[in-house]
Symmetry: C2
Subunit: 412 residues, 2 copies
Amino acid sequence: MTPRGKQTVRDLRRSSRSTLLRHLYFNGPLSRQELGAATGLSAGSVSNVTGELITDGLIEECGSVESDGGRPRILLRVTPGQAHLVGIDIGETQVRVTLFDLALTELASADQPLETAHDPERVVGMIATGLTEVLASAGVSADSVLGVGLGVPGIVEQGTSADPGADVVVHGQTFGWDAVPLGRLLREHTALPLYVDNGAKTLGQAEMWFGAGRGSRHAVVALFGSGVGACVIADGVRFRGATSSAGEWGHTKVHVGGRRCRCGSRGCLEAYVGAEALVERWDGTRPGTSEKAGLAALLRAAEAGQPSAVALLDEAAELLGASIADLVNLFNPERIVIGGWAGLLLGPRLLPAVREAATSYALTYPRSRTTIELSHLGPDAVTLGAATLPLTHFLDSGGELPDHIAVTAAVG
Amino acid sequence: MTPRGKQTVRDLRRSSRSTLLRHLYFNGPLSRQELGAATGLSAGSVSNVTGELITDGLIEECGSVESDGGRPRILLRVTPGQAHLVGIDIGETQVRVTLFDLALTELASADQPLETAHDPERVVGMIATGLTEVLASAGVSADSVLGVGLGVPGIVEQGTSADPGADVVVHGQTFGWDAVPLGRLLREHTALPLYVDNGAKTLGQAEMWFGAGRGSRHAVVALFGSGVGACVIADGVRFRGATSSAGEWGHTKVHVGGRRCRCGSRGCLEAYVGAEALVERWDGTRPGTSEKAGLAALLRAAEAGQPSAVALLDEAAELLGASIADLVNLFNPERIVIGGWAGLLLGPRLLPAVREAATSYALTYPRSRTTIELSHLGPDAVTLGAATLPLTHFLDSGGELPDHIAVTAAVG
DNA sequence: GGCGCTTACTTCACGGCGAGATTTAACGTC
DNA sequence: GACGTTAAATCTCGCCGTGAAGTAAGCGCC
């Protein structure tokens, strides 16, 4: 049970570097003094390790705080432009490539529309051109890119080799991708480290870092769009399960044996409250209207008091609340965040009823320890969340730079 | 995000001790040689650390293996009688206290029947007498007991102080316990370290260590008794959630708005397939028959071909399968183990239909990576699982002995 | 029965680590 | 300009795991 890898004395230093780098990253500029107090490291070690990080060019001094009678504190921060990150969103309708600096400030972005055919080779080609485009437009060298994070539709089978990103295989039933060796295809175009995860999961990551999930260690980000998905965070880390496919909430049953779902099963949540299902149930798949327009029309009709629209949304709220109650019972999170474009659209109207339904369907104790909130982030955050994948690796490793990065270390 | 505690160079040694102790515990007697190869530690470190563990009396040499031409290997093993563990099961009908040695061999056991009134003070009194009884009958001193693990009915709120076991509060709705400060009550009778968890979770632990879950790192142990519960193991560790109540599977919905459940909600799985519900639905709560006898009668009727019994069990299998499909989608385990007394009773008949239903209701990819199996362990294993709680702590800490234990170290 | 061979284990020097004490640096105040 | 105060750098110390060298304990072979 739970064998832990051996540790050498070197791992200690990595751990210290990671702790300091991480704390500095999330808690803004800090003096060595505060850093030591916050992390529990001794002043000597902080001085030692920060010195090393400065030599590596990963952090830098940035001004000082005047004191009342003593030596002023020198503030430290992560060097924002020292390295860069790329986030990519492979969505239903477009491929979006965004370049960020280390502080996750957007530097450049490139969108390319995606027609109905999602030929993997073509998509990979679009990624490659998008990549060179954003680097060129921001004037950034590929040598300074820590890694490329991708959010893709479908289930992601992670690799296990020394270059796991290149082994990734994607199973996207609704996207028309069946066991696509995305990692291998991408590796032919770029040597950068690759990190791939499901788009809903990367959106969830963004929500945890910068959105409504910030500050909680146990959360579920429920994503409500054309389909329904979820990203589960346990103890600050995404819950992946055995093969990284955990959190497929949309195909959880609300009525066993009920409505047929596009996944082939029956009674799935998604078959009742997914945007596609809602629009279809309301106007019987009136062709020509987009899903987004259809959902907006449904909402307007309900606001205007049209009985069938009101009933449909009321039922959706109850089912959503009941299914959120399942999440509460099973995962016992501190917080549930409802996001996704449909969630953002319907949220303000549905939220009170959803909260109420969740309360009546969940067990009292865990429900009392959970809040249900709306997301603040739009679907654009998929690229942001994707960029957190290489960034997480960077912070975890204590600021280890991939081989290809030429260290532009501060001399002295 | 994910701040990790600081580490000093001393923690390295603890980690090494833990790795070695753990490996020795689970992989039987081993030579230092094999130990080094398996854990990645250098021969020097293995020699050093094992020497320390032998001095502490935690492990001992036990014979040697003849070689073909070289110095024979000396086998090491954990000293089984060096320390003891107590597991306690607070069940619906009895309180069971069992004493184990370090190898989890049962040394003594004491049962005490529990009437309908579950007054906490009385239960605690029974635990205290049971404790002294098993120690006396096995001739073991309380000084050698590493800790006491308890499996209790209801949700367990873990403590956070320096003595977390003494802060435990239990919320057992169906048991008639409302915020019972079990830890504090027990602390008045014993100074031994206390570890408390839900009984279903401790049974799940036993299943993972010694039952059908052995060898898997991601599993769900589904427990099917009078009620329905689950124990989720992620990456070898029990998934607890924010307040330790994760895995309340029984009150997951299978028909939103359906049958009323004893939890107060509607449409819960437990209201359809819990033993209590099944018996009630079959014979309309014929008074006087026990649940166990009632379920056995239902099974016999179905075997004899009585249509209503067959239909009831067929429906139960489908609902169970569909709900297991939810677990597959959400947790993505390698293995699902069905246990509990009702699971053991009905399992052989229901399993094929359950597997089939799970396949048709779950997503293809995660389902293809999961096996669904029956448990081998009976409900007696609750005490065994409870005893693993202090044992886990012991192994994690690298063999740290609680203050009260007088070290009977080998001299020399 | 001495010799060499093989294998298991022990010992030891080494570089690296973080803690804690000490020293140096950089400010205010009087 | 001396002094107190606070921040940061430096130094010593005890401890760690590695890896090389050394020791122990068996074998077979002449």
